[in-house]
């Protein structure tokens, strides 16, 4: 039994968001009597953790603890319009909208606080932990929660904010393809190491190690979740998945999970490692870029290139089945030294 090892590299860009027909998301924020803030959205959380990162962005902008934010999403009667969760857009688009809404709500807080503290709103600053003070005068401080209550019961004012973010639609020039299709670019570079069993043609992925640059990370643990899950999905796409095993033939299309192949917990790469560069984007909230989709992308060509490095078999047709490896090895054995084209 021969096992051949190889290493492959791939580097990719991935655009954040699209322009669609104009790509908007909107947000509303209001304070409760006790100084919590409700962020109202019609957006959806697919499991990537949008609720959490939106809460973080709102808390950061308002200057209150994360625990004071209630994210109410997923209801068209309760939240304003959101285009949806796709195109790696949600943290960027919804985040920008929430940031704008939080800024407006923050101004409302500062207005009330200024009146209460008999100071100019311009002289007030938040401490990020729910407190507000007159700049340079530490003992003139109040809790935002108290301001929220005073706004309701003493001043009869709303503490609320509206936010919208839209990537404007831009037409595509049908001749040249000139267009402005997205908001920013995230980047990844993946190095994969594989081991190919030359008797069975089966490929084991030993490691998937990547560098990512995705602007600012709102929540590093959630970013790592995307990278880890995406590495698995990329490996799955590269080596296993197909709804048409013999495209274009319509035969043998899978109808269950025994036929639709995906790697299980015994097929994982031993090492999935990453570093994330934080270089804030120019237009994301706090400099974020989208990471939702891209994490499955660079592992695919990195694995294909690693298989070539290991075996000399260049697979141009996904998924890399064991049979394709064996047929490639057979062809190499039949015509040794033939330059690969």
């Amino acid at each position: 039994m021969t096992r051949l090892r190889g290493i492959g590299v791939a580097a990719v860009n991935y655009p954040t968001g699209m322009n669609l027909g104009g790509d908007p998301s909107q947000a509303l924020i209001h304070a409760t009597t006790s100084g919590s803030f409700v962020v109202s959205l019609s957006s959806t959380d697919l499991g990537q953790g949008l609720r959490t990162v939106i809460g973080q962005i709102a808390a950061e902008t308002l200057g209150v603890p994360y625990e004071e934010i209630v994210v109410d999403l997923g209801d068209t009667d309760e939240g304003p319009h959101c285009m949806g969760t796709f195109a790696s857009r949600a943290t960027h688009r919804v985040g920008n909208a929430v940031m704008a809404a939080a800024r407006e709500a923050r101004e409302a807080i500062l207005d009330v606080a200024a009146e209460e503290l008999e100071a100019s709103p311009d002289d007030l600053e938040t401490d990020g932990e729910g407190g507000l003070r007159v700049r340079g005068v530490p003992d003139r401080s109040v809790r935002i929660a108290d301001i929220a209550a005073l706004a309701q019961f003493k001043y009869g004012r709303t503490i609320s904010g509206r936010g919208s973010y839209m990537k404007p639609k831009s037409p595509v020039d049908p001749e040249t393809g000139a267009m402005d299709p997205d908001s920013t670019e995230a980047h990844a570079c993946t190095v994969a190491e594989v081991e190919v069993d030359t008797e069975t043609g089966q490929v084991a992925v030993l490691s998937i190690r990547s560098a990512y640059e995705i602007g600012r990370m709102v929540n590093p643990a959630l970013v790592r979740s995307q990278i880890e899950g995406g590495a698995w999905m990329g490996m799955s796409h590269a080596l296993y998945e197909t709804t048409a095993p013999y495209y274009p033939s319509m035969d043998h299309r899978p109808r269950d999970f025994s036929e639709y192949l995906m790697p299980g917990p015994l097929e994982l790469a031993e090492v999935v490692e990453s570093v994330v560069l934080e270089i804030p984007s120019s237009n994301g909230p706090y400099g974020v870029k989208g990471i939702g989709e891209m994490t499955a992308n660079s592992p695919i060509p990195a694995i294909v290139n690693a298989v070539y490095h290991a075996t000399g078999v260049r697979i141009d047709d996904l998924p890399i089945t064991p049979e394709k490896i064996l047929r490639g090895l057979d062809a190499l054995a039949a015509a040794p030294g033939e330059p690969e084209r």
């Binding site: 492959g8 791939a10 580097a11 990719v12 991935y14 655009p15 019609s42 959806t44 959380d45 697919l46 609720r51 959490t52 808390a59 603890p65 997923g74 209801d75 068209t76 949806g84 969760t85 990020g128 595509v172 049908p174 040249t176 393809g177 000139a178 267009m179 299709p181 920013t184 670019e185 570079c189 190095v191 560098a211 640059e213 709102v218 590093p220 959630l222 796409h237 998945e241 709804t243 048409a244 095993p245 495209y247 274009p248 033939s249 319509m250 299309r253 899978p254 269950d256 995906m262 560069l277 120019s282 706090y286 499955a296 060509p301 290139n305 260049r314 141009d316 996904l318 690969e340 084209r341």
Partner: protein, 451 residues
């Protein structure tokens, strides 16, 4: 205070949904039941391409528990609008088939019944009179003269403002090929892929006492689904209330608005809650997949590894209908040259119709397979000119402010720094000249490649 001056952005705070998820109390769409809820199941085409000559419901109607069947005539505006909401034509897909079915599994009759089992049995009792038509299953065969035509407009391609493909043109590829030291060509293919979210696509439409309908759905886009449903049902949007936001995995598969309109219609017509949740087999055999792709790349390369021309001809298999795939080709075209600055680029990206299950958005929409093709191609280029794979990527990498093939100036570019970080991570020692590179704007200031 952190070094960034930020308090909570940048911190791994615990997910707000963690307790619901680990206790099983998070409520997903199909976790709801309502008194009197009906179950909707679809009669689907067994043929890949056929004329529908007749539908006989008599036997199905006799199944105990059968409540009602819906055919095309029952749907007020029997057109999936999907992207037409944002001005992308055509409205090529029907909610329920009329004269013709174009893929195996296409919905023809919706049946609602008291139980799911009754709905399934009634579905099995519907007799379809179909006249099979020649079908085509391959993107390139679909473009050959004489191929069966899938669409209503006479070609098997989506028409982009008069062109059968999304075009991108920068410089003059032919001239650059003529002067290049090497030509490197290859064709890359990929299979269609299923999103396979653990939770299948589904919704429950519930008539409310005030005349509105509440639609619990796992769509990735609530207003998108609501607006499309309103158009299909020809009702004001204010009659609809869409509730969701907690989704058991999407990956792009829950952006299609397939289940909500018909379930909402059935709820309005029966006055009862209607549940329409895909089975796993439906999810695999009927719901949208990622397209199959065929991507041909021809590069003109100088002896030093600079790519001076790249021609990309891509075919994405849209299946029988458009859904989001025409848009995917536009996104593809903007990214098909990869994160590299190449002075002469020509991209033709074809959205091709076949008699396969429709394809649509999936994680990496239009870009995943472009990245596969381009990044394997980069290794081919490296091998041809005798450079290592890292070097060829560095010397062709785009820089801040470079003009990309679609004539957008590159923004927020860090490809070089990202590759440097990856090399460090894996312990690959880069040559000094690559370590010294940055993505900073090129010194000549014109944003073009410094050559």
């Amino acid at each position: 205070m952190t070094t960034t001056g930020l308090h909570v952005v940048g911190r791994s705070v615990e997910r707000s949904d963690r307790l619901g998820h680990v206790t099983g109390r998070t409520r997903y769409t199909a976790d709801r039941t309502f008194p009197g809820m009906l179950h909707l199941k679809m009669v689907r085409s067994p043929a890949h391409h056929a004329r529908v000559r007749g539908i006989d419901l008599a036997e199905a109607e006799r199944v105990p528990g059968f409540v009602r069947a819906f055919t095309a005539a029952d749907v007020p505006h029997n057109r999936y609008t999907i992207l037409s909401l944002i001005g992308v034509e055509p409205e090529d897909e029907l909610v329920l088939a009329e004269e013709r079915v174009r893929f195996q599994g296409e919905a023809i009759v919706a049946i609602v019944a008291e139980t799911e089992a009754a709905a399934l049995e009634a579905v099995s009792k519907v007799r379809l009179d179909l006249e099979e038509l020649p079908a085509v299953f391959d993107v390139e065969e679909a473009l050959r003269p004489g191929a069966p035509i899938v669409t209503d407009w006479g070609t098997n391609t989506f028409m982009y403002e008069g062109h059968p493909c999304r075009r991108v043109r920068l410089g003059d590829v032919e001239a650059a090929f003529a002067s290049a030291d090497h030509i490197v060509e290859a064709v890359y293919r990929s299979s269609p892929i299923e999103h396979a979210p653990t939770e299948t696509t589904g919704c429950i439409a519930v008539p409310e006492p005030d005349g509105r309908v509440s639609v619990y759905t796992n769509t990735q886009a609530l207003y998108f689904s609501l607006d499309n449903t309103a158009i299909i049902l020809q009702v004001p949007g204010n009659r609809l209330h869409f509730i969701g936001g907690t989704v058991g995995g999407g990956f792009g598969g829950k952006v299609d608005v397939i289940v909500e309109p018909i379930a909402t219609l059935a709820a309005m017509r029966t006055g009862r809650p209607v549940r329409f949740v895909y089975s796993r087999a439906e999810e695999m055999l009927v719901s949208s997949t990622r397209s199959a792709w065929r991507i041909a790349i021809k590069d003109g390369v100088m002896a030093d590894g600079r790519i001076v021309a790249r021609q990309v001809t891509s075919y994405a298999d849209s299946g029988a209908y458009s859904r989001q795939t025409p848009y995917a080709l536009t996104k593809h075209a903007a990214n098909a040259a990869g994160p590299y600055t190449i002075p002469n680029v020509a991209i033709d990206a074809y959205c091709v119709y076949t008699n396969r299950q429709p394809t649509s958005a999936m994680r990496g929409f239009g870009v995943t397979m472009a990245s596969f093709a381009v990044e394997v191609q980069m290794d081919r280029v490296a091998e041809r000119v005798g450079l290592d794979p890292w070097t060829v990527r560095f010397i062709n990498a785009y820089h801040e402010g470079d003009l990309r093939p679609h004539r957008k100036r590159a923004e927020d570019v860090t490809l070089i720094e990202t590759m440097q970080a990856a090399a460090t991570l894996v312990g690959h020692e880069l040559p000094a000249e690559l370590r010294a590179m940055t993505s900073a704007p090129r010194p000549d200031g014109d944003g073009g490649p410094a050559r």
